[in-house]
Structures are given as structure tokens and as C-alpha cells.
Symmetry: C2
Subunit: 347 residues, 2 copies
């Protein structure tokens, strides 16, 4: 047996074939998937690259495998879909083909079980750097996915969990403070982020009553009833950047209330070193929380928590196409997108 076959065998052992809707999985030229009647597929693709998204000497291979899949699956959560299958292409250095690969597969398998994903195909190549590309497919009932483009002026802006926690972990690593035991748990969200799948599915599944206008105008449309949530995105690039995407797609603006943002809990020892919780919440990436808008009249139907994850109202959408921050001092300033962009020059 040749080496690539051996690697595929090791992958197959970790990811047993699961039949539901998957007629052919790993081992043929392509996978064959049978869709459920009345469903749509939600498909996303995401790269996780050594030296850009992670450092091999700092991040445990289990975390590399887990986080690679969590990141991609968060896009499925952000549409309100249920994860089903994933596909992986992997570039793997010769030195990583042994125990590193076992750790990686362990983290990947743990994430797959947790998110309800079945590995349906892949491709492995020897390469100087670990390069992971994942395609994740989810299913959603026809017409129920929540897009970026539905926010309207007056809608409330909501977010799950806390913002800036992943950035806190990243900064600890960047400032070489990550080996201090007392701060070890602050690294968790950076290494093992949690896509908010239960909340996404809850929001896609809870619909407002059909309005009269909608019912008469779009009688044959599947969109005659609207979801409570009018738009949604996951915070992968940071609040300031991701809110900008919702505003651009929806043709609206927003005002964010700084004092309402659920911030990371930063130990005094770190605030003294200049760790600013608000700055991390506004511009730090990789929290993978859900940022969404709800129409005010249905906001009372929004629970305080879904699946144990708190929901906080942090602002309001506006007609003026600007993103404004209402500071804790009561002053308003433009909120500029300063989140993650791999091609931006360091300033």
C-alpha cells in the first residue's frame, strides 16, 4: 500500500461512514449525497493555514483540527442551518505525518461529533506547510436561511456570548504570556471556539406571523412569513468589520452602544499591561459569536439565552448608512472596520 492510501486509511478509521443521506463517502472519485425533500443546502469553504491562522509550535495539533472545523462550521450557524457533511484538502509536511497527524485527526473528529458533521471526502498531499481547506455543507428548510441582507432601520442589533475573548487569547500568545498558568483558561476561546449552532437553528426556526402586505404581495413565495431575525453573520473578523458587512448587504447603518457590549473578563494584571476589553470587543476577530438583527416588535419573543448562551442587545440599525459608536462617555464617533484582513498592511 502506498503512503497516501495509508493516510486515507487513518482518516477513515477516525471517521466511520455514516449512512443518513450519504450514499457514497470516502473512497470513490466523489461523494454522493441525497438531499432531504424540502430542504436547501448551505455550503461554505474556509482555509486554515500554518503561519497565517496558526503557529505549529504554539497550537496543539488537537486544537488545529478542532478550530479548523469550528471556524468553517460557524458559517453554517450564521445561516441558521444544521451541519451535515464536510470535505477536507490537507497539505501535510512529512514531519507531521506521524503523531502530529493523530492529534490533528483527534481534534477534527471531536469537533465533527460535537457539531454533527460526517466527513464525506478529502485529499492529502505532502507539502512544506500545514494547509487545511474545508468545505462544510449544512441543510436548512427551504427559504428559512437567514442572510446578511435583511436588516431594516429600527431593528435591534444582538450578539451571543462575549466579544473579545478570542482576541484576548491571541494577545496573550503574541506577548508571550500564554504559558502563565493563572491565565491558561483565557486561551480557551482562541484554541477551541464554539460555533453557535443551537442559536442559529433557533433563529431560523422561529418565524413571525405573516404580515398582511407580505401575504397578499408574495402569496406564492416561501418568504411570506419572516423570521424574527432579519439578518445574521458570525463575528469571525471582529464586530466593527462584521457589522459593516451586515450594513453594506442590507443598505442600512447602525449605532452600537458601547456600554451594552458583553466584554471579555480581563484580569487586572492584564488591563495594567494595556489590554483594553472594549477595543478587543470592537476589533478582535475569531470569537465566532452570532451577530444578528431582530425587528423590534418581535424582540420580546427573544429569550435571554439559547442553549446556555446569553443574547445581548447592543445597538440599533439606522437609516443613515454609517456605523456609529455611542461611547461610555456619551459621545458618538464613527466605528471604523479594523478587524482581520490578511492583505492589509500592518500600520
Amino acid at each position: 500500500m502506498d503512503r497516501e492510501d495509508q493516510l486515507i486509511k487513518r482518516v477513515s478509521l477516525r471517521f466511520p461512514f455514516a449512512g443518513d443521506g450519504l450514499r457514497v463517502g470516502i473512497g470513490d472519485d466523489a461523494a454522493i449525497l441525497r438531499p432531504r425533500v424540502g430542504s436547501e443546502w448551505v455550503v461554505t469553504t474556509d482555509a486554515f493555514l500554518e503561519n497565517v491562522h496558526f503557529l505549529r509550535n504554539i497550537q496543539h495539533p488537537r486544537s488545529v483540527g478542532y478550530k479548523a472545523l469550528a471556524r468553517a462550521t460557524s458559517d453554517i450557524a450564521a445561516m441558521g442551518a444544521r451541519p451535515r457533511y464536510f470535505f477536507m484538502t490537507l497539505g501535510l509536511p512529512e514531519a507531521c505525518a506521524g503523531t502530529w497527524f493523530d492529534g490533528f485527526l483527534g481534534g477534527l473528529a471531536r469537533a465533527a461529533r460535537r457539531f454533527g458533521l460526517v466527513l464525506a471526502g478529502g485529499d492529502t498531499t505532502k507539502y512544506p506547510l500545514v494547509t487545511i481547506s474545508l468545505t462544510v455543507m449544512g441543510e436548512v428548510d427551504r427559504g428559512q436561511a437567514i442572510l446578511r441582507s435583511g436588516a431594516r432601520p429600527g431593528d435591534l442589533l444582538c450578539v451571543s456570548g462575549r466579544l473579545g475573548e478570542a482576541e484576548l487569547g491571541l494577545r496573550l500568545i503574541q506577548e508571550k504570556l500564554h504559558k502563565q498558568k493563572s491565565w491558561a483558561k483565557l486561551l480557551k476561546k482562541h484554541f477551541y471556539p464554539e460555533p453557535r449552532l443551537a442559536l442559529g437553528v433557533w433563529l431560523a426556526g422561529h418565524r413571525a406571523a405573516t404580515s398582511k402586505i407580505a401575504a397578499s404581495t408574495y402569496a406564492t413565495s416561501t418568504y411570506a412569513t419572516s423570521t424574527i431575525a432579519t439578518s445574521m453573520i458570525d463575528t469571525s473578523d471582529g464586530l466593527s468589520t462584521d457589522l459593516g458587512h451586515i450594513c453594506e448587504a442590507s443598505g442600512v447603518g447602525a449605532i452600537v452602544w458601547a456600554r451594552e457590549i458583553p466584554l471579555a473578563r480581563v484580569p487586572v494584571g492584564l488591563t495594567r499591561r494595556g489590554f483594553d476589553p472594549l477595543d478587543m470587543a470592537l476589533h478582535g476577530g475569531e470569537d465566532y459569536e452570532l451577530l444578528f438583527t431582530v425587528s423590534k416588535k418581535f424582540s420580546s419573543r427573544l429569550p435571554a439565552r439559547v442553549g446556555g448562551v446569553p443574547i445581548t442587545v447592543i445597538g440599533e440599525m439606522t437609516r443613515a448608512k454609517k456605523v456609529i459608536l455611542l461611547g461610555t462617555d456619551g459621545r458618538t464617533t464613527p466605528l471604523q472596520a479594523k478587524g482581520w484582513d490578511p492583505f492589509r498592511k500592518k500600520s
Copy 2:
């Protein structure tokens, strides 16, 4: 606008949104696809990596874009499916973000038009090497896909086109002979391979009559009628390796008749240099021809050509689980898999 957004804009301009079945394309967290009633999805994923699969100083960016998509789409052809959508993650060096990227997108767009594919999503990251990962989705009528696993003893082994042509181009490059004008056209199949989509769809669509046993035993199955082709694979790794995959998946063996193999036409000037057409046909990769088996009783229904591409019978499947070559000298020898494997040490 930040740099990554600019790259995405350039991609979007080349690949206009096309509505048929694609409800949401580039620009949201994920794409939304609406399946056709009665169809199954065929999904494959494939990496095309600088310095492993191509050299940037030799291969034109147009060819890089074209070939990346042709390779992946060949897996869709090998199942008998019709290509529909594709997704791309791209690692791109800063130096390639200008004219190189335009050439690359041009080749990718040409391939997409030719194969009937719509770009539905992607992700671009700055990276030291050009790393391309593609996921291609096709559709096939329920139960009509042709797998690797259906070959039976006595079936005829068939192949499309000619074998060894891509290897011929690769060897010209390896021996630095590729700049000689008289041999320029010998590089075509290496730079611009052609997935055999029309043949794949023809084979999936042409079914033998229902046999009595099948009809009574599997009355409710969608597989009550069998295709003329009992198994299929594309020759991406070379005949010796890919035939081994069919044999392993089907639990059979094969005998290949050397004198029947449609070989590359090699100029005398190159055979004198040791270019061996049979060796290239047996072990050379990347031809992306279709290798398939047909039951003897239906073989008369197989046309000589489909979509202008010739079909040749080159052997027969056997009960003994070995792959044998019947040489032009009348002697039989085991045919060992010596095709492409990125993890095999050079011998």
C-alpha cells in the same frame, strides 16, 4: 475598501451570479443551493499546489486556473454527473495579486464556462505559495452515478482518448525540452486537460434493460436497472494505479492488453531519447481520461466515440484478484501500480 474585499470583487466580476438553483452565491456567510427534485449531489474536493502540482515559473497563470478546475471536474465526470457549482479557497502571494491573478482568473473562468460551472463561494488569503483548493458539486439523477465498485469478472475494460499524453508533456518540461517550438503542441494535455464530461453523462444515462432477477429482488430499489457501464474512474494517477482502485473496490482483477492501449504519438526524436509510449501510458498520470468497465452483453451498444472522443477496449476483468499485463510480446507480467503518489519516496 480593504484588500481582501478588492480581490473578492475582482473574482465576482469574472464570475457573475447565475440564478439556476443557486439562491445565494458569493457575498454571504455561505452559499444556498436548491436541489432539483429526484437528483443527488456528487461532491469532490481537490488541491492544486505550487511546487507539487505545478511550477509557477513554467506554467502560465491561465493554465494554472484552467487545470485546477479541470482536474477537480474530472471527478464529477467519473461519476457520470453534470457539473453545477464550485467553491475555491486560495492562498496567494502578494506578488501574484496583480496580473498573475488576472491570468489565473481568466483560465478559471474559461474552464468554468466550458464545463458549465458556477462559482458559488470562496476565500482568499495572503500566503507564501499559491495554494488552490477546489470543491466541485455536480448533479446526477437519483441512483444513476457510476461507482468504482461495480466491475464484475468478464466485463470489458475501456478507456477514452489516449493514455500517456499528459506524462509526455510533463517529461518534456522535466528534461527542459518544452521550449522547442516543434514540440509545443505536445504540452497541451499537460497544461489544458479535458474532463470527459459528455462521455460520463452518456454512460450514466444509458441503462441496460432490467434483468428478471434484479426486478424481482430489488423491486423497490432505484437500482433495478443497471447502467451499461458497471464501474468507472478517471485516470488521474495513471492506468496502473487507477485500474488498481477499480479492482480493489470491485473485488476483482484485470488483464490489460498492451497492444490495444491507445498510446500518445511520440515523435521519433523523443523515442530516441528514451521516451517510451507504453511506459508513459501505463504509469503516467493526469490524462483525466475515463477508465470504465462494461458488461460484455451490452458492449455492442457502446459507440466508437462520444462527443468526438474515441473509446477503446483495452482488457477484461478477471475473477483472480491480480492486475496482469499481456505484453506486445505475448508474455504476461504483473502490472504494478507505479502512478502518482505524493508521499512515495523517489526510488
